[in-house]
């Protein structure tokens, strides 16, 4: 009895100390925030630096920091230097919401660049909408969203999935098998693919989902082999791609016989999968490291100079890099970092970026992007084999596509 009482007492005292420490820390942060306000503009960077998504998101953070460095070297924005405040979303959606709140409420940043997974964006969305703050989201996603406080600098479905399908159709690949990780993007993408197929005389032979992080693909590969599709449309995410391609490769089916069109495999992922296993297969993006523009030569060189010659650049990195420039341009145009003014000024902002010309669509806050289909090369790079010729107007709800009528 006596022990337990002492224990209780001691614990409660410690609880009090912790509480006090909480309070203490918050007050020091307060002063930090106010003193940093005058000669710099704080911007938040919020990606997963730990956990399963860190692999991908760290590279985007690096690209965004590079853009901030470059802008600062060129004199900053409105005569002020940009000061990045980097937070870790830890691959955990509520943490994204928590850190977003911290960046807005405590650090009082002018804008936030961040997120990768749809789930992290959905978790942050209410925070930005309720606090009327800006988020720049740099990754291709499933569409069907247009938040007034989010700018989407990655592709929406009509700039990636639909061109990918157009390409397969053009090549006569009419019988498709759909493979995806079990979450929002693949399911929505496949819904769109099925509607497209129905309207274009294509046949869907199978639709399979595996849990995130799944590594046992022999059964799925067996199903594919049995269905004998012309092509596979792959929306698997992350590590699953490695297992899927390794196990597909070992059946001996070549990329010529049955190409896999992937929308989540970029230069970085190719290295983990192993070039041997994925060479010859197709990918759909808006940017490759090999994309031939002057801006890209500069970007690739600058990135390698800053982070190492062995680094590769990829589509989401480039979209994050663009986001910083697009925001800075809108701020210059507005003459202030005020959110509403920046939003108003952003519409129509147009820049020549590594992927080519990008323009912000003021109506839905997405970006005009050029779609590019590529083939994975034996050296791990991706060679463009087709592009849309001009930037495609973003259409997150696919309103301009008649076959997509029943989708939303």
């Amino acid at each position: 009895m006596r022990n337990s009482l002492w224990r209780t007492g001691a614990v409660f005292t410690l609880a009090a100390v912790t509480l006090a420490a909480c309070a203490g820390q918050s007050s020091t942060n307060d002063t930090g925030a106010s003193s940093g306000g005058s000669d710099t503009i704080k911007v938040g960077i919020l990606h997963s630096l730990s956990g399963t998504m860190a692999i991908s998101e760290v590279t985007v953070r690096d690209a965004e920091l590079l853009a901030i460095d470059e802008i600062n070297a060129a004199g900053g924005v409105l005569g002020k230097k940009l000061e990045p405040v980097v937070e870790d979303g830890a691959s955990d959606w509520p943490t994204f919401a928590e850190k977003a709140t911290k960046l807005i409420a405590q650090d009082k940043v002018a804008t936030v660049f961040g997120g990768w997974t749809s789930a992290s964006r959905k978790a942050m969305l209410p925070v930005f909408e309720k606090r009327k703050a800006l988020l720049w989201y740099p990754v291709q996603y499933e569409g069907l969203e247009s938040s007034p406080y989010i700018f989407y600098t990655g592709a929406t479905t009509n700039q990636q999935i639909v061109p990918g399908l157009d390409y397969l159709k053009e090549k006569g690949k009419k019988r498709l098998f759909l493979v995806g990780s079990d979450y929002v993007f693949p399911r929505t993408a496949n819904k769109i693919i099925k509607a497209y197929a129905a309207a274009n005389g294509m046949e869907i032979l199978g639709e399979e989902y595996t849990p995130l992080g799944h590594t046992e693909y022999s059964t799925l590969v067996n199903k594919i082999v049995e269905a004998k599709p012309d092509a596979v449309f792959n929306t698997l995410n992350g590590d699953s791609n490695v297992a899927f391609f390794k196990q597909l490769k070992s059946t001996g089916i070549s990329a010529d016989q049955m190409p896999v069109m992937s929308v989540s495999v970029a230069e970085e992922e190719v290295r983990g999968i192993g070039v041997d296993n994925v060479a010859g297969h197709l990918v759909a993006w808006n940017y490759y490291q090999t994309t031939d523009t002057p801006a890209n030569q500069k970007f690739v060189a600058a990135f390698k100079a800053k982070y190492g010659a062995d680094k590769v650049t990829s589509d989401p990195m480039e979209a994050g890099y663009n986001a910083v420039y697009l925001w800075a341009e809108a701020v210059k145009k507005a003459g202030t970092t005020d959110v509403e003014a920046v939003k108003k000024a952003a519409g129509g902002v147009s820049l020549d970026r590594p992927e080519g010309k990008v323009t912000i669509d003021g109506d839905n806050q997405h970006v005009y992007k050029t779609a590019r289909i590529g083939v994975v090369q034996p050296d791990g790079q991706i060679k463009e084999v087709w592009n849309s010729g001009e930037p495609i107007k973003p259409d997150p709800y696919l309103k301009t596509y008649s076959w997509a009528g029943g989708l939303v």
């Binding site: 860190a54 595996t210 849990p211 059964t219 067996n222 297992a243 070992s250 983990g272």
Partner: protein, 284 residues
């Protein structure tokens, strides 16, 4: 129809993977009551050994990974686990802490992204639905089982190991140095994880979180098979592999995982101690 038949060898090959990852666990868990959550990280260590030894030869990576992972296990046993015998739940949490640190260590040593381990040329191609690399894994699992069986039944060390497994106190009083036997078991159990890691490079990603994908499944095999039971582990792995393969074939991968879990709960209703177990009169 062909697909249904194909699922049979596929199920067995899934079972072979399960068996490889669970084989070491069933002994560390069975003999020492140690629930080693860092087992997955020993698998990862084996996979990274294969990565580092690329070019030297895939077959050399197997014994090398056995030694690397085995030594890691030995160090863990000597420094920490030794203090925790008889407290299985505490070892579970302790080794989870170790596994977190090992994951971060791998991240710092090899980087967060997956690394590429190319399959050796002689494992390309296959027979029917089963690629050579799957057949290789099945052969490797079979060879491991045979080796362990021979070790346990044909060597003095193995017999001592069995003695300790069945009755630790009695073994100790009859002059067996149980500490040494524990070390050896842990070395072998962890080493087998390393071998499994090399095999997994043939079919899956190689990255710091590799172990986390397999650890829950491995424990389920051990639970279903019965502690320290070689034939239990073999049958449980084969059974779960087949169940998984057919459940996924007729539904999807997500549902298959749930089906497997429900099946194991149901199975434990009938055989609470797994397929096989050693009868004991001790009151715990």
């Amino acid at each position: 129809m062909e697909g249904v038949l194909n699922q049979l060898p596929i199920g067995l090959s899934i079972g072979a993977v399960l068996l490889l990852i669970a084989l070491g666990l069933t002994f560390t868990f069975g003999q020492m009551g140690v629930v080693n959550m860092a087992h997955g990280e020993f698998i990862m260590a084996g996979a990274y050994t294969a990565y580092l030894l690329q070019g030297v030869g895939f077959l050399i990576a197997l014994p090398a990974a056995f030694v690397v992972a085995g030594l890691m296990g030995l160090v863990l046993e000597r420094t920490l686990i030794r203090r925790f015998y008889g407290r299985p739940l505490d070892t579970l949490l302790l080794t989870w802490g170790v596994s977190l640190m090992l994951q971060q260590l791998a991240r710092d040593l090899f980087g967060a992204p997956n690394v590429q381990v190319a399959s050796p040329a002689w494992l390309r191609g296959g027979v029917g639905i089963l690629p050579y690399n799957r057949l290789f894994i099945m052969a490797l699992a079979a060879a491991s089982v045979l080796a362990i069986w021979a070790y346990m039944n044909r060597t003095g060390q193995g017999r001592r190991m069995r003695a300790v497994m069945q009755n630790r106190r009695l073994a100790a009083t009859s002059g067996i140095d149980t500490g040494r036997v524990d070390q050896r078991t842990f070395f072998i159990g962890s080493g087998l994880a390393g071998v499994a890691g090399v095999a997994l490079t043939l079919i899956g990603p190689v990255g710091p979180t590799l172990g986390t994908y397999y650890i829950v499944d491995a424990f389920l095999v051990v639970v279903a098979g019965g502690l320290g039971q070689l034939r239990g582990a073999v049958l449980a792995a084969a059974g779960l592999g087949l169940l998984n393969s057919y459940a996924e074939f007729w539904s999807d991968a997500s549902l298959a995982k749930v089906v497997v879990f429900v099946a194991i709960i149901g199975f434990l209703q009938v055989r609470p101690q797994g397929l096989f177990f050693v009868r004991s009169r001790a009151l715990t």
